[in-house]
């Protein structure tokens, strides 16, 4: 639950945010001339459209958007965008169509507003309602908009709308956006995040490619870290192994490796023993300290066992002190016994 809350905040952070960019692949563009033409025809005003969303997507009709939780029998949801008055139960979050309002200036999209469920307010002057449109066609069009709209937040909303569209396959254009060096790292990070939310079996490998190229590109560590977070949100069996690979990748910048360790620690699919194994394979004290922190955030007995071993036996006193600090913060009563024994037992 805490994880979901954290993810929601991160998602909101990723969506929030300004840059111009290049267009998506030609294949996508070819699918959407009609919708693009209808929006451009508005010239100056607001173009409204609505389209079907994935059955697990819900919203409050305003800013909040959620997705049904795979856990707890699918009776709950987690926020994907903003926070609203919905309270965790699926029934509180209304499944409905995506409603997208595009502000058009000079025939170009200047802003994007996304809602799920709810109804449109009465249309005033300058508002053109394009009505219900094909979800895949809308998704393809909105991913073009995501590359060209000036604002980063608007770009994120366009990507989110595309991901929520029913029956749309969007992982390839999202990967292309994430790889597009003509876009800001913020927007590329949005693309990586929304790629992780596609449920496409190819998402993890696509994100791996984004991370690999970011690691190989000087100055792209920030994007690599965002993409690692995105990868951590993909629920595929191979993801913990990929995270471990990046944690141990000596070619990667330290902060990228630290991100991989952190998100590996946050993954329920990665056992504490996996973290402990990473610790043993690493030599760098800074990275080892990050593993200690990651272990401290786990509440399984095996995580405490690893911390106790480090506290008692690691040859590096600095790392022992870090493990000891986290033992002091642990809820496990064994921690106090260990600390007392270390204090009273001669050599700690």
């Amino acid at each position: 639950m805490a994880e979901h809350a954290a993810l929601s905040v991160l998602a909101a952070a990723l969506i929030g945010g300004a840059a111009a960019g290049l267009g998506p692949p030609a294949r996508v563009a070819a699918q959407t001339p009609d919708l693009a033409g209808r929006v451009a025809a508005v010239r100056d005003g607001v173009a409204r459209m609505s389209f079907a969303t994935d059955p697990d997507v819900c919203g409050d009709g305003a800013g909040a958007i959620g997705r049904r939780d795979g856990n707890a029998g699918g009776t709950g949801f987690h926020y994907l965008r903003e926070r609203g008055t919905m309270h965790g139960e699926w029934d509180d979050c209304v499944h409905g169509p995506a409603r997208v309002a595009l502000t058009v200036r000079g025939g170009r999209v200047a802003a994007v507003a996304l809602h799920v469920a709810g109804t449109w307010p009465e249309a005033g002057p300058g508002v053109t309602d394009l009505g219900r449109v094909s979800a895949p066609a809308a998704a393809a069009y909105l991913l073009r908009v995501a590359a060209s709209v000036p604002g980063e937040r608007d770009a994120g909303d366009a990507m989110a709308a595309a991901v929520f569209a029913d029956s749309a396959v969007v992982w390839q254009p999202l990967e292309a956006l994430a790889e597009n060096r003509g876009l800001s790292d913020t927007r590329r990070g949005h693309a990586a995040f929304w790629l992780s939310q596609t449920d496409a079996p190819e998402a993890a490998r696509a994100l791996g490619r984004v991370i690999d190229r970011a690691i190989a590109s000087p100055g792209s560590a920030g994007l690599a870290r965002t993409a690692i977070f995105a990868l951590s949100q993909v629920h595929e069996p191979g993801v913990p192994g990929m995270m471990r690979h990046y944690a141990e990748d000596r070619a990667a910048p330290e902060r990228v490796r630290k991100s991989a360790i952190f998100w590996l620690g946050q993954s329920a699919a990665a056992a504490p023993a996996e973290l402990d194994s990473v610790y043993r394979h690493l030599a760098d004290p800074t990275l080892r300290a990050q593993v200690i922190f990651a272990l401290s955030q786990r509440h399984e007995p095996a995580a405490l066992d690893a911390l106790i071993r480090i506290a008692r036996h690691d040859p590096d006193p600095g790392l022992r002190r870090k493990a000891i600090f986290w033992l002091g913060q642990s809820r496990d009563p064994r921690a106090a016994d260990t600390l007392r024994a270390m204090i009273l037992g001669g050599r700690p």
Binding site: R320, R321, I324, G328, L339, R340, I343, P348
Partner: protein, 269 residues
């Protein structure tokens, strides 16, 4: 490291400006002289305990560890009390250095006996009202500062009054915290007179740092666990430095069981 922390704590405790009460007691001659001075700044100087030193605005209570001494000098404790209508509105304590020339209307009582100074300052911290010529602390912070200054006095046995203030519901929380802090310090002096020397642990700096980290970590456990565990360390450890460190963190808990332990140690039980 210890000197820095202790120094910072000392500064916090000595820096003056809640209202404090405690048991009324007869005025000492020095307290009477202070009270009789009337409004203005009243200065006095007295001998500091061994181990107390001053440098600039920093007051330290460490004597070094056998290979290092703090970069400040032992000297007199200098206390300035700002008195207004029977209330001490501010209190500044320094160690070492020189007084600047007094301004008109200020009173310099000169060098006074340290024990009397400590008694007067603790009386000030615990006094409830200015009735009967008693000076009272104008705020909880002043009371805390008075306690800290009293704790620096040479040859003064202040722990019984500190224990009384530490247990008193009538004094403000800053004054009570100061009393507990200095009570813990005194208990630490009793179990570890050498101060900072490593005992049975073998003396390796790394081991000592790890052990100190463990004591701190233990102090961060929920109070129900931390206090008994730290008390157990104080009772059973063979290393005086470990016992002192545990006493320090026990003092930070402000737990009544810890205060009882300090008193037992200071009574030699």
């Amino acid at each position: 490291m210890r000197a820095t922390r202790m120094g910072a704590l000392a500064i916090a405790l000595l820096a003056a400006p809640a209202l404090a009460p405690a048991t009324a007691r007869a005025q000492t001659p020095l307290a009477s002289r202070i009270a009789a001075a009337g409004n203005g700044v009243v200065r006095m100087s007295f001998a500091a305990r061994p181990g107390v030193c001053g440098s600039g605005n920093v007051i330290g209570t460490s004597r070094g560890d056998g290979e290092w001494v703090p970069d400040c000098d032992h000297g007199l404790v200098r206390v300035a009390l700002h008195v207004s209508d029977g209330r001490v509105t501010a209190l500044r304590a320094h160690v070492n250095g020189q007084w600047l020339a007094a301004r008109a209307g200020d009173h310099d009582l000169g060098l006074v006996p340290a024990r009397e100074a400590a008694e007067a300052l603790l009386g000030l911290a615990g006094a409830e009202s200015p009735a009967g010529g008693h000076l009272v602390a104008g705020s909880d912070g002043v009371a805390a500062g008075a306690i800290g200054a009293a704790a620096l006095a040479d040859s003064a046995v202040v722990w019984p009054q500190l224990a009384s203030l530490a247990r008193s519901a009538a004094v403000g929380h800053r004054a009570r915290d100061a009393a507990v802090f200095w009570l813990a310090e005194r208990a630490g002096d009793r179990v570890d007179p050498r101060r900072g020397g490593s005992g049975s642990g073998g003396g390796r700096a790394d081991d000592e740092a790890v052990r100190n980290a463990a004591i701190f970590a233990l102090s961060q456990r929920p109070r129900g666990e931390a206090v008994p565990a730290l008390m157990d360390v104080v009772r059973t450890s063979g290393d005086p430095a470990v016992r002192r460190r545990a006493l320090f963190w026990l003092g930070q808990t402000r737990d009544p069981r810890a205060i009882d332990l300090f008193v037992r140690i200071l009574k030699g039980r």
